[in-house]
């Protein structure tokens, strides 16, 4: 069907198509590893600046460096560039090629996203280790393991958010400005500019309800050992699940409207 709906496809085939796409994208991106390196640097810049600034403000608080090293890793592992990998296809019309392939269009989008993340993670880990070593950060394995599902869900959530914004390309040619605004919100309320705990009370309360902290700050906080006990972790996972559902439903609705515009109005 024309929609994002995956219902008419066997789950096994969908997974193998995504795996196939990842393999293809990894191969493709291997030719431009230097470009990926610039993406890693760009992604790491926010957490590193945050670390320098807040370490200067709170030099005795070891939480700052630990949080920002884990945030650096979470950031590179969850980066999403659908405004480039997907929206540009709408602009140059090459999405028509994807629409004529016997698979849901979103399979290619997911495959490209995961392939880029694999590269960024591989390049980001040495950077995080270096930053951790420089600032004397030590992590507990237990906290890191507990953070794994939150990082995965945070990655899904961030993908859904950026993909949702990228779908506006069906209506406007200013998708990069829209995605840039989304990035600003994510940086401000997701815990990059400042850890959520450092924000003023009302902003912190709002931030905890919005989807941005579950994307970045929450997994980083859990990995840094800042979150104690199972209950807040489960609450965080539930929060991630709710926002993923909300964004996924919105993405499907926006896709249907967008593809209708593309195929009916001829836009």
């Amino acid at each position: 069907m024309s929609a994002l709906s995956l219902g008419s496809h066997r789950p096994g085939r969908l997974l193998s198509l995504i795996a196939l796409r990842i393999r293809r994208e990894v191969l493709e991106w291997s030719g431009t590893w230097w470009f990926l390196l610039t993406l890693v640097v760009q992604a790491a810049l926010g957490p590193l600046i945050g670390m320098f600034v807040w370490s200067a403000v709170y030099p005795a608080d070891s939480y700052v460096a630990t949080y920002y090293v884990t945030l650096l890793l979470v950031t590179v592992m969850t980066e999403s560039f659908e405004q480039h990998t997907f929206s540009e296809k709408i602009y140059d019309g090459t999405i028509s090629h994807d629409l004529l392939r016997p698979q849901p269009v979103v399979v290619d989008v997911i495959g490209a996203n995961l392939a880029i993340r694999i590269w960024l993670t591989a390049m980001g880990i040495p950077l995080a280790l270096l930053a951790g070593w420089a600032f004397g950060v030590s992590l507990s394995w237990a906290s890191v393991l507990v953070a794994v599902p939150l990082v995965v869900l945070g990655g899904v959530l961030r993908f859904c958010w950026v993909f949702l914004l990228s779908l506006t390309a069906f209506w406007t040619e200013r998708v990069h400005a829209i995605a840039g605004f989304g990035w600003t919100l994510t940086s401000l309320l997701g815990g990059t500019i400042a850890p959520l705990a450092f924000l003023p009370g009302p902003l912190r309360d709002v931030g905890q309800l919005l989807p941005f902290y579950p994307m970045l700050g929450l997994p980083a906080d859990v990995a840094a050992g800042r979150v104690h006990g199972l209950a807040p972790v489960l609450t965080g996972i539930a929060m991630q699940g709710v926002w993923i559902a909300v964004f996924a439903v919105c993405a499907v609705l926006l896709w249907r409207a967008g593809i209708r515009r593309y195929t009916v109005v001829g836009a």
């Binding site: 069907m1 496809h9 196939l20 493709e28 028509s96 090629h97 994807d98 004529l100 016997p102 001829g266």
Partner: protein, 326 residues
């Protein structure tokens, strides 16, 4: 039995419009105005399995829009379309596996960094072609399209002609039953265009595929398509045999004769003299008079050579575009 059925097909685009100037610009922020642009109007035709049909018309006639509707890229405003028993706009996987839409302007989609062979293998998995069948198809395509040298090269590094050959291989490696070819020889040199035509003809003959082809190059149509569908301003103007269109639009034939000592006055009596050089003359003669005129010329003149030709196809089609088929 039909492969493609189109009944009373209409497609209307909705285009934003506004007057020039500040007032109109500000007004359009609050009250956007649109105009309906009919691209395809009440088009009907059918293609039998294995038929190779030329779909021609001037720029903006509605050819590409119709092709997009038939392949599932556009949802028609009204009318019925069935391709291999499917409604194309639903773009079901079992439909998409059986068709190919190849555009000369964008012969290869997707990532350009991979090699042609990697991309072909990706197609195999995507279209679930059994390995043995894939290898057989690949060998055949490699031979027909002279792909051997292209297989290890990256798509982005191919020339236009090479991209078109690669694009054809990528689209045909899963053996589609219906091919929509939109300007397949666009921008190709003489050799490239000839290779393309030869390949399409061979593929259609070997596999029994149905082909609908648009082209502005009459050589494509004349070489490949016994049947012609002519569309203009969104409406079908002609649907029938190519030679019948020529006969309908051009009630004359050209008689080309070489008669070095011929008297020009006597030639002019036989027909309208349209060309002469070095003892070779070209006369325009009404179709009904061709037999009588050639017999007379052969009797009365010392003719070294004589041939009867149809008017050039370009001239016929140009006339059809300008004056209609009538």
């Amino acid at each position: 039995m039909t492969a493609v059925v189109v009944e009373d097909l209409c497609m209307t685009y909705r285009a934003p419009v506004r007057e020039s100037g500040w007032k109109a610009t500000l007004g359009s922020v609050f009250n956007r105005q649109y105009r309906d642009v009919p691209a395809v109007q009440h088009v009907s035709f059918a293609l039998r399995p294995g038929e190779v049909v030329g779909f021609i018309g001037p720029n903006g006639a509605g050819k590409t829009t119709t092709m997009k509707i038939l392949s599932g890229l556009l949802h028609a405003t009204s009318g019925q379309v069935r391709v291999l028993g499917h409604s194309p706009w639903q773009r079901r996987s079992d439909f998409l596996r059986r068709i190919a839409f190849i555009r000369g302007s964008q012969p290869v989609g997707g990532s350009q960094e991979l090699t042609v062979l990697d991309t072909l293998r990706y197609q195999r998995l995507l279209y679930e072609v059994p390995p043995a069948e894939f290898q057989q198809n690949l060998d055949e395509l490699t031979a027909l399209l002279e792909l051997g040298e292209l297989l290890p090269r990256q798509l982005r590094a191919l020339s236009l002609g090479e991209k078109m050959r690669a694009g054809l291989a990528l689209s045909l490696v899963y053996r589609p039953e219906v091919m929509f070819l939109d300007e397949p020889t666009l921008g190709l040199d003489v050799t490239g265009a000839t290779t393309m035509r030869r390949f399409v003809a061979q593929y259609a003959e070997r596999t029994g595929a149905t082909v609908l082809l648009t082209s502005h190059y009459m050589a494509d149509v004349a070489t490949l398509c016994p049947r012609l569908v002519l569309i203009d301003k969104g409406r079908i103007q002609y649907d029938g045999k190519l030679d019948e269109l020529a006969a309908k639009l051009s009630p004359y034939k050209l008689v080309r004769l070489t008669a070095p000592g011929a008297d020009e006055r006597r030639l002019r009596e036989a027909g309208e003299l349209v060309e002469s050089s070095d003892g070779t003359w070209v006369l325009r003669v009404p179709r009904a008079d061709v037999a009588r005129t050639t017999a007379r010329l052969l009797t009365e003149l010392d003719v070294a050579d004589l041939s009867v030709e149809e008017a050039p196809l370009e001239a016929v089609i140009d006339q059809a575009y300008r004056e209609g088929v009538g």
